[in-house]
């Protein structure tokens, strides 16, 4: 199903407004990063030939993410772009037809973001336990195992 980029962005804005509250729920800290999930679900595999729309989406998601969290805009951009890049590279070596491979690709895609967040948490002496990181990685992997989009002729529907 083709979904327009504006739909993804509207969804991202809604999640951005709601997610800080969700993060404070009892088990909220274990939830995976919603902006990362949106990006990895919105941009299908294999990576489309034209990277214009994925990059616009990445920048918008990074802006929203840094608006409601400590990581700066550059840190969010780096984390999201690195996730796309790692997933793109792994996809070449591991077929995504098997669920286990999608799970592994999901975990490795989320790893750069976790490392950057960990670095920020260490710098600012914020609590960010390994347990939380592990759960977030696993949940990103699980969500990507279930949701799987393949590239079509046009990425986000509509004209170019």
């Amino acid at each position: 199903m083709k979904v327009r980029i504006s739909v993804w962005l509207m969804l991202a804005v809604v999640f951005t407004i709601v997610f800080p509250w969700m993060r404070q729920l009892e088990y909220g800290q274990y939830l995976p990063d919603v902006w990362l999930l949106l990006l990895l679900i919105a941009v299908p595999t294999p990576f489309p030939y034209s990277a214009r729309k994925p990059i616009i989406l990445t920048l918008c998601l990074a802006l929203l993410r840094s608006a409601v969290s400590v990581p700066s805009l550059i840190a969010s951009c780096a984390a999201l772009l690195a996730a796309l890049f790692v997933r793109g590279q792994l996809y070449r070596h591991l077929s995504d037809s098997l669920a286990i491979y999608r799970f592994i690709i999901g975990i490795f895609s989320a790893l750069p973001m976790m490392l950057i967040d960990m670095s920020i948490a260490t710098r600012h002496q914020l609590p960010f336990s390994v347990e939380v990181i592990a759960w977030r990685l696993v949940l990103v992997g699980l969500v990507l195992t279930i949701s799987h989009r393949r590239s079509r002729a046009t990425l986000f529907g509509g004209g170019r």
Binding site: W21, L73, A78, A82, I120, H124
Partner: protein
């Protein structure tokens, strides 16, 4: 090159992507403030409305603490105690100037003061706290001064070794990082004993009356062994924790005032979002219309946490329990300032130790207090003089 083969073009794109991602990751992990500031200057106004929206949504589910309506002007008991304990004995012809301390490095024997030429300080003036001799002013700049503590490498300080029934003159020699100051000259070596009281002795060009101020330098301690031929005495002297706040400089001529207050900037702030999208409830977004980058956030004179990220006129605070301030907190014990030890089971009222932009003496709460959610109306603080840490 006029054209590239498809394979070469793909490799070029890949290389550029790798370079861009790596550069962003490096900036994310080892940020250059210049770049982050520039980015937030451009995109900050776009982010703030989103943060506000998220804050409004979150506030439907969060209980706010009751605001204290009768807000009083902030006064710190810590500073009052330091003043009471720190003023040395009055001596005729000498005035003690009160100067705030910006930074201290006890190991190397260097101290940075928050006044300089503007307060008529000059090299050679002696610096003390209570009955403790600390050192001499070594260098003076327009608004700051540097003190060479008695243990600074190469610093020579005159002493009198005093026991119950004898006394002798001596000179101690600072060794900096190598260890405590060593007593390298003794007028009468037969009168030198371990545990002898060390009294500071003025130089010929110091005001002679200072000898009556009763300034101490701790006690002498024997070191080495006779058998090896390296026997000697060292100075065992501990700089009081209160001296990290303010010290007293002996002056025989003064300007308009004898007290310099540290520069502390304060601005009112508003909570815009409690809890963040990545680090959850341990962070809080606040906005403040101030022209400085604040270091600490307080709620009705009680510190909530330290500012970790600032984006022009709003930023993020890491909410901390009082005990999480660790060695950046001090407490008053019978009027004496002591460094907080988190392993201690005793409960104390903690205050900020100061330094790295945090004003000294702000109330943190009791050591067993839990994290508390800041209310809507807050204050942000900065001690701009102490932002730059002294490097040796």
């Amino acid at each position: 090159m006029l054209f590239l083969l498809p394979g070469a073009e793909r490799n070029r794109k890949k290389l550029l992507t790798v370079f861009a991602v790596v550069a962003l990751c490096v900036q994310a992990c080892f940020p250059l403030p210049l770049i982050d500031n520039a980015v937030h200057t451009v995109f900050g106004p776009l982010m703030r409305p989103i943060t506000r929206l998220a804050g409004v949504y979150s506030s439907f589910f969060q209980r706010l603490p009751t605001a204290d309506v009768n807000r009083k002007q902030y006064t710190s008991p810590l500073i009052a105690a330091e003043r009471k304990r720190g003023h040395p004995q009055e001596v005729p012809g000498v005035v003690w100037l009160e100067v705030p301390v910006l930074d201290i490095d006890v190991a190397s024997g260097r101290m940075k003061l928050g006044a300089g030429d503007n307060f008529y300080l000059s090299p050679g003036m002696i610096v003390a706290f209570g009955k403790s001799f600390l050192g001499r002013i070594a260098a003076v700049e327009p608004e700051i001064a540097f003190v060479d503590l008695y243990n600074r490498a190469g610093q020579r300080t005159g002493l009198t070794l005093k026991t119950v029934d004898s006394s002798t003159r001596a000179v101690c020699f600072g060794r900096g990082f190598s260890g405590p100051a060593v007593i390298d000259w003794l007028e009468d070596e037969k009168q030198a004993f371990s545990d002898a009281q060390l009294l500071w002795r003025p130089r010929p060009l110091d005001a002679a009356q200072l000898a009556n101020a009763g300034l101490h330098l701790g006690v002498s301690r024997a070191e080495g062994s006779f058998a090896r031929g390296n026997h000697g005495f060292v100075v065992e002297h501990k700089i009081p924790a209160s001296a990290e706040g303010r010290v007293y400089v002996a002056a025989s001529a003064i300007g308009e005032s004898v007290v310099t207050e540290p520069v502390v900037r304060q601005a009112s702030a508003q909570r815009i979002l409690l809890g963040g999208g990545v680090f959850g409830g341990t962070v809080c977004a606040v906005s403040a219309s101030c022209d400085f980058r604040p270091a600490v956030l307080s709620d009705h004179s009680r510190v909530c946490g330290s500012i970790v990220e600032w984006r022009q006129n709003w930023g993020w605070t890491s909410l901390l329990t009082p005990s999480a301030w660790d060695n950046k907190a001090v407490f008053l014990n019978d009027g004496q300032v002591q460094l907080f030890d988190p392993s201690s089971a005793l409960q104390h009222e903690l205050y900020t130790r100061g330094g790295v932009g945090v004003p000294r003496g702000l109330f943190l709460g009791k050591s067993h207090n839990k994290l508390f959610a800041p209310s809507v109306n807050l204050d942000v603080w900065l001690a701009p003089q102490s932002v730059e840490v002294m490097h040796q």
